[in-house]
């Protein structure tokens, strides 16, 4: 931190004095305004370098009413998906010249969400990325007029609020289609919570694929995404033996299912095939390695920021984007018979 002789950080005026120009000209150089002669620009840049000048963002915010900050409202950050989406958001935002402020929800309630939104308003963020995978979030957002662009992860978006999502139904149909192509007729679904956007969408995809193939969609169990709930429900499946294949809502629950099957002496994939969702880095090392649906969460985060920046800087209207997932076949599903 270079300091002026008076001991404080240099400001525009100090640079101006040193370069022999006005503070406004320095401001123009700093902000890359076009109408500055090359010679002047050079002088100013030299002075900036000598003094180690850095623009004061509070002063700038005060007058521009922009904070160069994007707020990320998140929950479940300990989960693979949200954590990786945040990563993509953060990188893309920083590349675009924004700071990223984060507020995570301990519990997902209207009150907590509204509280965090106020927190962001106090900070006068330029936009908000909502990384809260519960359906109810959308309702709260409708009521709470933020006055800044909002991008909701997992939502298809609407006229006022943008969305960026992985095509969950497509992923679910790919997974179920894979099982059907192996000749399975009784395919259970161990879903995530139905009040989660992803949980509901994946269940819907499972149902759609079964219907299209003329198969029954009556084997639905609802878990809570955790390995523990996968284990409990897996024990039920192992006891009932009603299904020859299980499409599990995420990889962690699938781990629990594998554990339950292993304990119960149900062989995977010989007795029952198992498919997960997410493709976490560990999933290839489960016993057996898990067939699953890969999602590019970081790409999802990047696209959020793309949309966001267009809305902030170009005043673009709300829009949405969909990232396609991809089936990764491993040993927890048998190879097609034919």
């Amino acid at each position: 931190m270079t300091k002026t002789s008076s001991g404080r950080l240099p400001r525009l005026e100090d640079v101006a004095l040193r370069a022999g120009v006005s503070h406004q000209t320095v401001s123009r150089v700093v902000n890359n305004h076009p109408n500055v002669s090359a010679a002047t620009r050079e002088k100013v840049e030299a002075a900036i370098a000598e003094l180690g000048y850095r623009r004061n963002s509070a002063a700038r915010s005060l007058v521009t009413r922009r904070s160069q900050t994007i707020g990320v409202l998140a929950s479940e950050l300990s989960q693979y998906g949200p954590a990786h989406t945040l990563l993509g958001v953060e990188q893309a935002a920083r590349d675009a010249g924004y700071f990223v402020s984060i507020a995570s929800l301990r519990t997902v309630s209207s009150e907590a969400i509204a509280d965090s939104l106020r927190h962001f308003m106090d900070q006068s963020v330029d936009g908000i990325v909502v990384l809260v995978p519960h359906s109810q979030t959308l309702n709260v957002l409708e009521e709470f007029r933020t006055g800044v662009p909002v991008v909701v992860v997992g939502s298809t978006g609407n006229a006022e609020v943008s969305g960026a999502m992985v095509d969950q139904q497509m992923g679910a149909e790919a997974a179920v289609g894979h099982l059907i192509s192996q000749g399975h007729q009784r395919i259970a679904h161990l879903s995530g919570p139905m009040d989660w956007i992803d949980g509901a969408a994946r269940a819907e995809g499972w149902r759609a694929a079964l219907r299209r193939a003329g198969l029954a969609d009556d084997l639905l169990l609802e878990g809570d995404w955790s390995a523990g709930s996968g284990y409990e429900l897996g024990r039920r499946l192992a006891a009932e033996r009603s299904a020859t294949a299980v499409f599990v809502g995420n990889d962690q629950m699938a781990l629990g299912v594998l554990r339950a099957f292993n304990e119960a002496g149900v062989a995977v994939p010989d007795d029952v095939s198992v498919v997960g969702f997410d493709d976490q880095p560990e999933s290839g090392y489960f016993s057996p390695p898990l067939t699953t649906v890969r999602q590019d969460f970081e790409e999802l985060g990047r696209r959020c920021i793309d949309i966001m920046v267009r809305e902030i800087e170009d005043g673009a209207a709300a829009s949405s984007t969909v990232v396609p997932p991809e089936l990764v076949a491993r040993e927890s599903t048998s190879r097609p018979a034919a």
Copy 2:
């Protein structure tokens, strides 16, 4: 967002007019200054509520030279530990009235670290939490004088920089001690990268425990924390069969080891016992469930903020704190013989 009749957000002056006092009195109420009469305070608070006034943080920052923001420099946010520590940091910071700005490192290099620190300086953060588990980070921090309090996670701290850490050596010794108490004599360690603070500390703990028991510490393999590296090194261990127990640096690598042993027909724990580190929520559902060392990452994050806030607000000197880990015994280690 309530607005004044002129269409902009209300400011101190608007509240003052409405309450029939000066803007400064309103400021005093907002900032909880003591010398305001109860009657005045009430009037002002009513006006604030009616107008929906919220303090402009940019203006406040400009004059106080405080941003009420704590920067978190993080890497490896997709890992369980860092992600959960961030959670603790975020919650504690918000409770203490701070915003949390995050910068994550794609790659851990001096240049990238310095870049992120400049990013935080531009934002004039009030303090920085460093959540980068590489030893080299400390060196960069020494060179780069930030001018604000810094708390390094994983470090013991020093005179200038505070630290908050889990007692890795204690955890490692507990894990190894557990194996020794079961009668194991040849205990391998599958470590994380040695240039990670945690990797080195856990290896050191392993070595210390073996030495104290008079056992050989020659079976050391270095992995990269991933399940994949655990799998590769696990295959080597399975082929060599030199050890009867393995202390693995984290749970993900342990998963890979279990997979490799399973493929190679090495029974756990009958042939070889396995202990992990971290106690992720999934670890109880591995096959077999993993004995591991639990760390309270959220507590770690909270303590960072405790220290930070004391430094920022009370001008306290740098200090450090240590969180004790805890052994969680499961089926991947056999019960003690006696």
